[in-house]
């Protein structure tokens, strides 16, 4: 087994994944190291990789002319980053900047998509795992939107 297999095998995203699956994932895998303060990708760029974070912290960011750089969410080690690679137009919607030095395994997006087409069982498992991440992020985002810590105004409901 190669080094990135070990990282992937221990990563929460791949918990419960059958050993046969590795033969489809491994060819797509590479290592990535990013220093703190550097961008992993920018909004609008092609979404070439699915990032499996094993160390460090990444800030998801948006940019507005008036507001400047606006933080959206921080992603930590043990999380995964990015799903824009799964659907056309395969372009990033936000930018990602490293806040603490990042170690990650990157999975080549077109390699993953081809593997899904060739093996639908694998495709189902991958998309299901991504859907779970999407669900968790959406729930968390909704909680963020509720602004629950604001001082409520009397009687305003």
């Amino acid at each position: 087994m190669q080094a990135h297999d070990i990282i992937l095998a221990q990563h929460p995203f791949f918990a419960g994944v059958k050993p046969q699956t590795w033969s489809l994932i491994t060819p797509c895998a590479s290592f990535l190291h990013v220093d703190a303060g550097k961008y992993l990708f920018h909004e609008g760029e092609e979404a070439l990789y699915f990032y499996i974070l094993s160390e460090g912290k990444v800030l998801l960011e948006a940019f507005d002319a008036q507001l400047g750089a606006v933080p959206i969410e921080t992603i930590a080690a043990g999380d995964v980053l990015g799903w824009s690679w799964l659907f056309p137009p395969y372009r990033w919607h936000f930018s990602a900047k490293s806040l603490a030095p990042v170690q990650a395994v990157t999975l080549d997006a077109s390699c993953l998509r081809e593997a899904c087409e060739r093996d639908h069982d694998f495709g189902y498992v991958l998309v299901r795992q991504v859907a779970q991440v999407l669900m968790q992020r959406l729930q968390a985002t909704r909680l963020q939107l509720l602004d629950i810590y604001r001082t409520p105004e009397r009687g305003k409901r």
Partner: protein
């Protein structure tokens, strides 16, 4: 006369002699409070002679309906309960808890000096006796003792009365609180009125009760008189105006908190809170801190409150129970279900006041029936 009266003795007192009991009580420093007629209803007020009672009156009650009517006889207790309950005296609608005075450096608090008035309650019905016992559990035998309730409760002389006339909305039989008087009382009366005689079968319930009657003319009750008393109670038990199934009532309500009936009753309920005011066990209160225009004195008052008010469950930003359906649900499930978890008994004594005095005639027994009929356990588990 002559034999020393004891607890559980049953004696006969003629109607004319009963007045003596009031005299003895007053001589002993008791203020006698009993049913009187006022504003076309039976309300509790000071009673000095038997003629202050609603002699020859009866009542007709139904959902949202209360009428006093004349009887053809001179019964002293020929009616059921009116809008008031004894909580008016034990847990008054408004009392001051303390006063405070601003001083050079802060303030000084003066606790309230309460007159330790001795009350004798004349005419406590079986359901009302249970209601007093229920409030005793709330105010005296919970985590804290309420000193204001305690001081009023301590010197109470209780004369209970077995009902000879069931109210139109009564269901004490269902709630197992009557019509026969059980519990802690000093004396229990059963009024027997025939064309030939008018007398009272009196059960001694305490030493104080025995000593009050010691010098009043009486004779021991005969077997026939005892049977007449039993017959009165048995007849009343057959006349119940309402019925409530109590089997597993707590579990049933707890699993039906999302029942559509709550929305349905909310379309009728005005959230006026009448039910909580007439109910003999409702105990919710509001604490009010007030000051005068100079700001030099402050007072803390306690007054009755109702879970039906919009502000009852207020938190910054709004009330937890904003909808009428949630507030009706709170009242009914508290009364019939969570009360059992809190205090070990039901909060309802089956007096029927909430049914009679609801302006739109909402009937707690009917609401319970509707929920049981469509119980969540019967519904297919599809959620």
């Amino acid at each position: 006369m002559g034999h020393l009266l004891q607890i559980d003795d049953v004696i006969i007192i003629e109607r004319e002699q009963l007045q003596q009991l009031l005299v003895v009580l007053q001589e002993q420093g008791y203020t006698v409070v009993g049913p009187t007629v006022r504003d076309q209803a039976i309300v509790y007020d000071t009673v000095t002679t038997l003629t202050d009672l609603p002699v020859g009156y009866t009542d007709e009650q139904d959902g949202g309906i209360y009428r006093l009517k004349r009887r053809t006889d001179g019964a002293l207790f020929g009616y059921a309960v009116g809008p008031q309950s004894w909580k008016h005296y034990l847990f008054p609608p408004r009392i001051r808890l303390w006063q405070a005075r601003r001083e050079q450096d802060g303030f000084q608090i003066e606790p309230e000096r309460h007159e330790m008035q001795k009350f004798a309650f004349l005419g406590v019905r079986a359901c009302e006796l249970h209601a007093i016992a229920i409030q005793d559990r709330v105010f005296l035998r919970s985590h804290y003792v309420d000193p204001h309730y305690q001081s009023r409760r301590r010197n109470l002389f209780l004369i209970a009365v077995n009902c000879g006339h069931a109210g139109g909305t009564c269901f004490c039989v269902s709630m197992q609180t009557g019509p026969k008087v059980t519990g802690d009382f000093d004396l229990a009366l059963t009024e027997i009125l025939t064309p030939e005689r008018h007398f009272f079968v009196v059960q001694i319930g305490s030493e104080e009760g025995a000593s009050m009657l010691q010098d009043i003319p009486y004779k021991p009750a005969s077997d026939e008189e005892l049977q007449q008393a039993e017959a009165v109670v048995a007849r009343t038990a057959q006349q119940m105006g309402r019925q409530m199934e109590t089997n597993e009532i707590k579990e049933t309500l707890y699993r039906n908190l999302e029942h559509p009936r709550w929305q349905e009753v909310a379309s009728r309920c005005l959230t006026c809170g009448n039910c909580t005011m007439v109910c003999p066990t409702c105990f919710c209160s509001a604490v009010e801190d007030v000051t005068d225009l100079t700001g030099m004195t402050a007072e803390r008052w306690r007054r009755w409150d109702s879970c039906f008010t919009m502000d009852f469950s207020h938190l910054t930003g709004g009330s937890v129970r904003a909808s009428a359906s949630s507030r009706y649900r709170q009242w009914m499930t508290h009364k019939l279900a969570s009360w059992i978890d809190q205090f070990g008994t039901s909060g309802c004594v089956g007096c029927g006041r909430c049914i009679t005095w609801c302006p739109v005639g909402i009937d707690i027994t009917e609401e319970m029936r509707a929920i049981r009929a469509d119980d969540a356990t019967n519904a297919p588990q599809n959620h």
